[in-house]
Point group: C2
DNA sequence: ACTTATACGACCTCTAAGGTCGGATTAAAC
DNA sequence: GTTTAATCCGACCTTAGAGGTCGTATAAGT
């Protein structure tokens, strides 16, 4: 039903948390999880993924934690969602073309049109705007 | 990942099929299913639901089938999706407010803003446009 | 050494999507 | 009036993916 996954929600909340801090300051995954009552392990894994993708930076060991790495004005919501959930698309045929109905499908073109419009909405929102 | 359900896809294809016919002409569920290689039972149930909702009209018995009932220009894509899949919303808190994070959530407002924008996209597309 | 943080793969659970089946109802055709 | 071809509809099955947990490894400050 066109929902974001919890992973994405949690990630946005975590980024919002880091957004308020100075560039040097570190925050542990646990602290964020506790603040927002997010399952700790899941948030940790999500932050690790964001670290791999270069969105946040990580420091290990005691006193370690996460901090922002990129300028959130440079990252669109599309980029972010696709990073965590894969391609944004109303239908599978917007991505790979393996579909039984391919030959006979009559709604592909209009759906792709709408898909583009929707994607444009997300393209035009930066993560910085979501933090406001 | 923001996908439409197959049910919705099948429903759109079926409507597109009926759209090309005269107002009197009936088409059986089976014929549509065969034409587009859609699982018959599933399409049948979907068409029944559309009949209950007043989108199509049904005639029982042999030579029976379905035909359009409403003017597709009067139905927005939002209406249609919500009919088949329930509320269009990026997050659950856009619908009912039962969420553990309610008190501490910091991204609710911006998410709702984006949600409204997205919904507007679907509001401004009529089913008739999807048939083109 | 010990502690406290991230790193990460393996696993578990539960829900909903997608699809199937069986039988009931309706009505045209013979 | 029996047969046949369509809708009607609830019950059920299966599977994938979301969401979450666990155990263990690794890194680094004290």
């Amino acid at each position: 039903m066109l929902k974001l996954s919890r992973k994405t929600e949690y990630a946005l909340m975590a980024l919002r948390h880091l957004y308020g801090k100075t560039t040097e300051q570190l925050t542990s995954s646990k602290e964020i999880a506790a603040t927002y009552r997010i399952p700790g392990e899941l948030l940790a894994k999500t932050l690790q993924q964001l670290a791999r993708e270069g969105i946040v930076e990580t420091v290990q060991g005691p006193l370690g934690g996460y901090r922002l790495k990129v300028n959130l004005e440079k990252v669109s919501l599309t980029d972010f969602i696709e990073l965590l959930e894969g391609p944004v698309a109303l239908t599978d045929c917007s991505i790979d073309k393996n579909c039984d109905q391919l030959g006979t499908c009559t709604i592909r073109t209009p759906i792709h049109r709408i898909n583009d419009t929707m994607k444009n909405v997300f393209n035009n929102v930066t993560l910085a705007e979501v933090m406001q």
